[in-house]
Amino acid sequence: MPPVLPDFSNSVKLKYVKLGYQYLVNHILYLLMIPVMVGILIEALRLGPDEILSLWRSLHFDLVQILCSSFLIIFIATVYFMSKPRTIYLVDYACYKPPVTCRVPFSTFMEHSRLILKDKPKSVEFQMRILERSGLGEETCLPPAIHYIPPKPTMEAARGEAELVIFSVMDSLFKKTGLKPKDIDILIVNCSLFSPTPSLSAMVINKYKLRSNIKSFNLSGMGCSAGLISIDLARDLLQVHPNSNAVVVSTEIITPNYYQGNERAMLLPNCLFRMGGAAILLSNRRSQRWLAKYRLVHVVRTHKGADDKAYRCVFEEEDREGKVGINLSKDLMAIAGEALKSNITTIGPLVLPASEQLLFLLTLIGRKIFNPKWKPYIPDFKQAFEHFCIHAGGRAVIDELQKNLQLSAEHVEASRMTLHRFGNTSSSSLWYEIGYIEAKGRMRRGDRVWQIAFGSGFKCNSAVWKCNRTIKKPTDSPWADCIDRYPVHIPEVVKL
């Protein structure tokens, strides 16, 4: 609430005032329409049936007028339905569960680090401190090539990892949805750091013998938010092509990008990035109306690349010894906060209920006209969404967003637990988080989900989904064997 009324901020009465205000503003139309309707009904009853009939005859309708009016109505209705954007349904999705041989316990990670960086104890210490505070658990996975001492990041190993992850997740998707490979009309694969020739989408087409007139796209270099960019692209394509299926594959191939040097800022991704992938089936077919899990409501993309600091904050470059790694700058969190503000400003009007928007407008007017020192009103997004999926980029990202959006621990539970169990799987982490919520049985019909992802550039993308049908606890998700252990308490610092 604006600081004009500070004394009431802890009062219980304020809660009821707030609730009353929200009901009033959100349902203003109903509240206005009901008295009007009641008035008309009373008037109609008072007049009696004969009076109403005579009123009707006095209007002198003739055939031409009736025909023109009905044509007009039909015309307007047709234009409305034709220009309405197609509804995009998310039929189902599958997440990758790595084999147990790829597991990386903390002690193994530190041991490899000590053996490989034996001349640089400070770098080893740094990695240990990062790992202790990372929020990761003991079951995250790295690809097989990284388990070697020293790691073997050959192109063959990278392709091997890509095949392992992508084919496994596609097979899982086919099994879940009953989709035939020949029915895929649009294929979008996004993998930021590994971009071979032929592309990964060509690899998928080759393996599953997809149709020759398929529309395939391969997005690379777009960072951790590329998953939502692919969804946006799929949505646009599905507007143009009627009656189509689109498969989006989001993954990050770690093998070729494991940093082999000892520059501290570049060792950070090694501690956080882990193996993972997801495949999503989107459709605009009306037959999927009752079968689909979610409906896509909005996708909002914000790009802060015009600002130089934002552009350079996640930068892939060579270190002093010529080894390539990703440099994360120190003001990453500040820039992420800025990008988030931009994104919220755009998405707010689309999703927030009228009560919140009115308050925000009033505060904005107040700040501009009366007193610029008023604190900006942060809309309560908990009113707009039931579930939040914040990209599990790291503990700091989740903490920052929890603070900025004033979310409770339960709202960010999906993100924290995904970070603990799977690590930062880049663009696919949002799907593991939705999988967590489903596995906990919390997804009900009509629930709205907000997915937020940050990416290099610097980008902040969001997607809003509405749950189409209450989802039973799935038996074939990667959470199936461990969901009962969650949520776990993640200590601030794990002693290594």
């Binding site: 084999p99 041989t101 597991r103 316990p105 903390f106 193994t108 091997g160």
Partner: protein
């Protein structure tokens, strides 16, 4: 990081030295000899090349990170290392990184948290294993020749390349005590070389680990699940001092052993040959086992080769596994050292004649039968009594040596077959050969009597002796009477 398996002499250095010798020497014949010797060293390159090293972890996190202290017997074996090699004709691995064998290894490692842990030294100098879930090192190697060629022509020192040999470093925090080396031969064929410090396991334990891996992969129930309870070695007997074991063990710390190069040869004896010879000694020793026969045979022949001693006595140290000797018997799954060493001494006259073999067999048989629970526990008690002030264990001494030591694996033979020959992962075939090496053996030598691929009474004997004595032993007529086949003996 990878062990350097090549033993080349730097080429330029060797030729420079030859030139120097030619110039300085007055004896060209000696120089020529030296040149030839150097050339032989230059061209001698190992047939085994290790190309990768990785870490295999358990499929579930270990959890509590407990520290498991090693027993007093484990500490006593501290100077030695253990290496066991299983040869299979067919390589079960497909694509190594994603093979289901790797998954079954990870699952079985969940049962062995000590194997994936790391050694730590406490304040009192006591070793323990911290179960920190760090994993087991797996090495991959390629062998240039086919397995048949290897069994025919490689020698004992080359067989050592099939496993990993390294002493415990000063700081064992990042050092994996267990190593599994997968050696792939030309044209198919694979040898699994398992190695560990003798502190962590004895030959039975390490074989059971491998067997559990196979059983898990073949989805059979694990026959001997691991048991880590160190309380297993505590017993209710009253301490018994002054027994033969005490006296024997007390001689070990003070033994001075010169360091001599040792070589290993492997003799295979068939079921029929053993049966025939057991029949020959039946009237002197009715219940002789193949181990007793072979131990006596090799002891007498090796004693024959050695230089005569002052006291004209010969000693044999017999190493037995006491899991089945004590009451109640300890499960074969007990993971740790359960070995008992006992000394048998005979006069030279008793052993000299070939005809006296039956007599020696009888004496060995009686000695082994006499090794009972009392002896075993008194040895353990003696080791316990050697603790210094503050509970610190005494430094380890050489348990295998200085006398000729003979190790029995008869307890691994159950019925007609043996536990040392577990059926392969996918094809179900038995190993072609199993070898067992012990590191840091000094003194007169080591004889290990193992089961053989041929079932029944057939045995494989691995003999480690000083280099100059080995050729004579291989030619020995008494041994040749049993028609052994020589494998991995470089001929």
């Amino acid at each position: 990081m990878l062990p350097n398996k090549n033993r080349p002499f730097p080429l330029s250095l060797s030729y420079a030295s030859i030139h120097c010798c030619l110039l300085l020497s007055e004896h060209p014949v000696q120089v020529l000899f030296f040149t030839l010797l150097v050339k032989k060293m230059v061209t001698k390159k190992s047939m085994v090349s290790v190309h990768s090293m990785l870490t295999a972890v358990s499929s579930k996190p270990v959890g509590s990170g407990e520290t498991h202290p090693l027993s007093v017997l484990d500490h006593a074996m501290g100077l030695h290392t253990l290496h066991v090699v299983f040869y299979y004709k067919k390589n079960p691995f497909g694509i190594f990184d994603v093979d289901p064998l790797r998954i079954s290894l990870s699952e079985v490692l969940c049962l062995y948290p000590q194997v994936t842990g790391r050694l730590t030294r406490g304040e009192s100098g006591k070793w323990s294993v911290k179960c920190n879930d760090a994993g087991v090192r797996v090495l991959r190697a390629k062998v240039e020749v086919s397995m048949d060629e290897w069994l025919r022509s490689a020698d004992g020192s080359e067989e050592k390349d099939l496993t990993f040999w390294e002493e415990i470093p000063e700081e064992p925090r990042t050092w994996s005590p267990f190593r599994i080396q997968v050696n792939e031969f030309e044209g198919g064929g694979v040898a699994f070389g398992l190695s560990c410090t003798h502190m962590n396991a004895d030959p039975t334990s390490i074989t059971m680990l491998f067997k559990s891996w196979i059983e898990n992969h073949r989805q059979e129930p694990i026959e001997h699940p691991p048991l880590f309870d160190s309380a297993t070695l505590h017993h209710q007997h009253a301490p018994n001092t002054g027994t033969k074991s005490d006296i024997y063990y007390a001689t070990k710390p003070n033994a001075e052993i010169p360091s001599v190069k040792m070589v290993t040869a492997t003799f295979r004896f068939s079921d029929s040959a053993i049966k025939k010879w057991l029949g020959e000694v039946r009237d002197q020793c009715a219940k002789a086992t193949p181990f007793e026969l072979l131990a006596s045979l090799f002891w007498t022949r090796v004693a024959h080769l050695k230089a005569p001693k002052n006291d004209r006595k010969h000693s044999l140290s017999i190493c037995l596994d006491f899991r089945r000797i004590v009451q109640p018997p300890i499960s074969l799954g007990y993971f740790g050292n359960a070995l008992h060493f006992s000394l048998l001494t005979l006069n030279e006259e008793e052993m000299d004649d070939v005809g006296k073999l039956g007599h020696v067999v009888e004496l060995v048989h009686r000695h082994i039968s006499d090794v009972g629970e009392g002896e075993v526990w008194s040895a353990v008690d003696w080791l316990e009594s050697q603790k210094e002030e503050g509970g610190k264990y005494a430094p380890p001494f050489r348990m295998y040596g200085p006398e000729l030591t003979c190790v029995s694996m008869e307890h691994m033979i159950i019925g007609h077959g043996s536990l040392m020959f577990p059926a392969s992962f996918k094809s179900g075939e038995k190993p072609v050969h199993v070898a067992c090496h012990v590191g840091n053996v000094r003194g007169e030598g080591l004889i290990v009597v193992l089961p053989s691929a041929e079932e029944g009474l057939a045995r494989t004997v691995m003999v480690t002796l000083p280099e100059e004595e080995m050729p004579e032993l291989c030619e020995d007529q008494a041994i040749q009477c049993l028609q052994p086949t020589m494998v991995i003996s470089g001929r």
